[in-house]
């Protein structure tokens, strides 16, 4: 089998780079998760420690809310924006560009700005709501247990819905005009066109974008960490932040590695289920 080994030689450089950049960190994380700080094998002790911690289940539920809430609104708002931007109106080009701004702004800048705007005493949001008498007293957006996670989700939605909008808009623009005209002759009004023509035609785009949003949501640290660092009282603590803080604030690298391994497994299952049941469903036409 000389031929096969020659082929292997050709892909070797790429394999080496991949191995160093991906396989090695993954493997080393696995190794860290079953050893202690001195490097001695400790079995599942680290896993037991992180699973026993009170913050872990809370972070898990927070992550679920965070990802789920973000995606639902990002997709709904993004698709609605795309449909709107796909209509003909004067100044459409400018509006399209402006829509992109939240996505273009660096996450840390956006997070800090929003933190100021949500500030209880000096924030513009409380000012705008108290001045006309919408609410009587300022709300502690970032300290109230009922508002802090929704506020984080809102900021995340604001940050990423333009991405959804632009991707879906690109999909919408590839729909041949004939289809709309055929639908119009068939008796469709605007909402019929949205429901029966636009959405089915951009479904592959929405599926792909949603998968990206899931992955990004599961990995995102910037917004929450910059504003609340997971607080108050772990109300906005999501698993990636828990891992980050375990490793780089408490220096529990082994427990952080164990939590990473668990998180990695859960993520893979979620993504797998998603691809299996949504991305590849009906045998329909492109």
């Amino acid at each position: 089998m000389v031929r096969q080994s020659t082929g292997l030689l050709f892909v070797l450089p790429a394999l080496v780079v991949l191995a160093m950049l991906i396989a090695y960190p993954v493997f080393y994380t696995g190794l860290l998760s079953v050893t202690d700080q001195q490097g001695a094998f400790v079995g599942t002790n680290n896993f037991a420690a992180v699973l026993g911690a009170r913050a872990t289940p809370q972070a898990f539920w927070n992550t679920l809310w965070w990802v789920g809430g973000s995606i639902v609104f990002q997709v709904i708002l993004g698709v609605a924006t795309a449909v709107l931007l796909n209509q003909n109106f004067p100044g459409r080009g400018i509006v399209r560009s402006v829509t992109l701004i939240p996505w273009v702004i660096p996450g840390i800048v956006a997070a800090t700005t929003w933190a100021w705007m949500f500030h209880t005493e000096f924030g513009i949001i409380n000012y705008m709501m108290t001045a006309p008498g919408l609410i009587e007293a300022p709300i502690g957006w970032l300290s109230n247990r009922d508002t802090v996670l929704p506020v984080m989700i809102a900021i995340n939605v604001w940050k990423l819905f333009p991405f959804v909008a632009i991707m879906v808009l690109a999909g919408l623009q590839s729909i041949p005009n004939d289809l709309y005209e055929a639908a119009r002759v068939d008796g469709a009004n605007f909402w019929h066109e949205v429901w029966h023509i636009m959405l089915p035609q951009v479904r592959p785009v929405i599926v792909a974008v949603t998968l990206l949003l899931v992955i990004w949501g599961l990995n995102s640290i910037t917004i929450i960490y910059a504003i609340t660092r997971g607080g108050p009282a772990n109300l906005t603590l999501i698993t990636p932040i828990q891992i980050f803080r375990l490793a780089f604030e408490s220096f529990q690298f082994n427990q952080a590695a164990a939590l990473s391994v668990i998180f990695f497994a859960v993520t893979i299952v979620v993504v797998f289920i998603y691809i299996r049941y949504l991305a590849s469903s009906p045998a329909e036409a492109k």
Binding site: P176, D178, E181, A182, A183, D186, N189, Q201, E284, A285
Partner: protein, 352 residues
């Protein structure tokens, strides 16, 4: 029921006028074909009937109702698009039933009408397929099926056969014609192919540069074209034109070739005219005019000859098998009953 009246309809895009006042009367059940070269406004006119383009001036009346300001869905029309415009994410059955679904027709009724249409078009085995799994001809039929289930007052066809190969086109031509004879629905059909127009239409509307050049049955247009444009557009190969003048009851071509006319021309003595003669109206005649053969194209059933006659390039079609060669002289005469005379300045037919 389904008569269509078009009265002085105009279309402007900004200050550019593309249709300059078109009037056409289409009787209920008639098969009318709008034909003309690219850019003549025929598709625009069809889209105005459909309601996909705004009407800049004039009136369109469908079934006794002025539809200028009605949406396409309120006009009771069905349209077959050049690209077929089938919904890719719907099965054939869903494609055909879509308009009924939007019209809130019951499920059983929809199923009944879709099945009936599928039967007419031979689409029953394909009802559960998606458009991408169909051949071009089958997609074409689905597009027609979508129109049939509507049972509209008017069918509109926008160059429906131009994406098919030549053989399938001929087959679909007769299928559409048979369908029309069966359903008797008023049909407006746009094409740039004059053979399609000649073979299918009850009535042909020849359009050119946004105006109607002539309206008539296929044979009227063939036998008595009102002007040089219609004469040159209808018929294949196209009519030959010889410029010249009238001189003592005869036509004298610019190079002096004299062709006696019978009956006498209505034009004044000495007037500039253009003589039109169709390729099939040349006869081999040892006494006739000399024509220098340029090329010979035998098709088996007939022979097509390009030649120089009276200083002009002409094409003749002969039933005989010719034993001549390029460069040789061929003597031909003209079938004088089939000669057309046109005013050289206006291009209008000079009526005998």
């Amino acid at each position: 029921m389904g008569a269509v009246t078009i009265r002085d309809v105009r279309k402007n895009y900004g200050s550019v006028a593309v249709i300059h006042g078109v009037s056409i009367d289409i009787a209920d059940g008639e098969f009318v074909i709008l034909v003309g070269p690219s850019g003549c406004g025929k598709s625009t006119l069809l889209r105005m009937i459909a309601g996909l383009e705004a009407i800049s001036g004039g009136e369109i009346d469908i079934g006794g109702r002025v539809v200028n300001n009605l949406h396409p869905k309120e006009r009771d029309i069905a349209m077959v698009f050049q690209s077929y415009a089938l919904y890719p994410h719907m099965t054939v059955e869903q494609n055909m039933g879509f308009s009924l679904k939007l019209g809130k027709v019951s499920k059983e009724e929809t199923r009944k009408r879709v099945t009936a249409a599928a039967q007419i078009l031979g689409l029953e085995p394909y009802l559960q397929r998606y458009p991408r799994n169909l051949s071009g001809g089958q997609r074409q039929r689905v597009a027609m099926g979508r129109a049939i289930v509507r049972d509209p007052q008017v069918f509109l066809f926008d160059e429906p056969l131009s994406n098919l190969d030549a053989k399938l086109r001929v087959q679909m031509r007769s299928e559409i014609k048979a369908l029309h004879q069966r359903l008797k629905t008023t049909t407006v059909y746009v094409t740039h192919d004059q053979i399609e127009a000649m073979t299918m239409a009850d009535k042909i509307v020849v359009m050119h540069d946004g105006i109607v050049e002539q309206i008539g049955t296929p044979l009227e247009l063939y036998d008595r074209p009102e002007n040089m444009f219609v004469a040159g557009f209808i018929g294949s190969p196209a009519m030959n034109f010889l410029p010249g003048r009238i001189d003592q009851g005869a036509f004298v071509a610019d190079d002096g070739t004299r062709i006696p006319l019978n009956p006498l021309p209505p034009a004044a003595e000495g007037a500039r005219v253009t003589l039109g003669i169709r390729p099939e109206h040349f006869r081999l005649d040892p006494e006739g005019i000399a024509a220098k053969v340029v090329t010979i194209e035998p098709t088996g059933s007939e022979t097509q000859v390009s030649a120089q006659l009276a200083g002009q390039d002409i094409v003749g079609v002969f039933r005989e098998r010719l034993s001549t060669a390029p460069g040789a002289d061929l003597r031909v005469s003209l079938d004088l009953n089939a000669v057309h005379l046109f005013d050289a300045a206006t291009g209008k037919r000079l009526v005998a």
